[in-house]
């Protein structure tokens, strides 16, 4: 089974702080995704990528940057964290963009105070 590892698993930061969430997948999948999950909103796509150096905008990109440095690594950056970004963040990967199973990481819980 595909392995997707996220870090940190839990993070508390202050408003205006700088946060980087990391994701690594070990199955050479082309596509990687960052989602946030909030009560009442379900899972919402922030950014995704179909390969190293590529970045695509998702449905809720404001306040987030992302970078895909290698086939394996996808980072989500919050440069000026706000309380509205308190959420559970999931990274996922898939071989293709559609019709393929997504493999999710364990999630990173971020609290912005």
């Amino acid at each position: 089974e595909a392995a997707v590892t996220q870090s940190p698993r839990n993070k508390v930061t202050v408003t205006g702080g700088n946060v980087t969430l990391s994701c690594r997948q070990t199955n050479s999948h082309n596509y990687m995704y960052w989602y946030r999950q909030d009560t009442g909103h379900g899972l919402r796509l922030i950014h995704y990528s179909y390969g190293a150096g590529n970045l695509q905008i998702g449905d809720v990109p404001d306040g987030y940057k992302a970078t895909r440095t290698t086939q394996e690594d996808f980072f989500l950056l919050l440069e000026l964290a706000s309380p509205s970004q308190t959420s559970l963040y999931f990274c996922a990967s898939s071989e293709k963009n559609s019709g393929n199973t997504l493999y999710f990481g364990e999630g990173s819980r971020l609290i912005v105070v």
């Binding site: 909103h41 379900g42 019709g99």
Partner: protein, 107 residues
């Protein structure tokens, strides 16, 4: 407009009962997936069902594209089936999720 709607929002069953979860979507798509999530946990793909009926163990999914709906049937529910079941569709290359159905199975 929410593209993917799931019902019921929550469901409580006695162990051994069957569950029927519904998913409807506002667009035509032939890419429908079902996921399972424990509270605050990782999502796991259950079934990819673009159309027709697919079965995996005690899970059966039926997707009717022209009616823009999919269902997930869980037979003989077990306590370990408790969690959230999410339906997702692919639209313009992106996976869009519903809010999920929270299933609680009691002994």
């Amino acid at each position: 407009e929410q593209q993917v709607q799931q019902s019921p929002a929550s469901l409580v069953l006695q162990e051994g009962e069957n569950a029927e979860l519904q998913c409807s979507f506002s667009i035509f798509t032939n890419q429908v997936q079902w996921f399972y999530q424990r509270p605050g946990g990782r999502l796991v793909s259950l079934l990819y069902n673009p159309s027709g009926t697919k079965q995996s163990g005690r899970l059966t999914s039926t997707t009717v594209i022209k009616e823009r709906r999919s269902s997930l049937h869980i037979s003989s529910s077990q306590i370990t089936d408790s969690g959230t079941y999410l339906c997702a569709i692919t639209n313009t290359g992106k996976l869009t999720f519903g809010d999920g159905t929270v299933l609680t199975v009691k002994p």
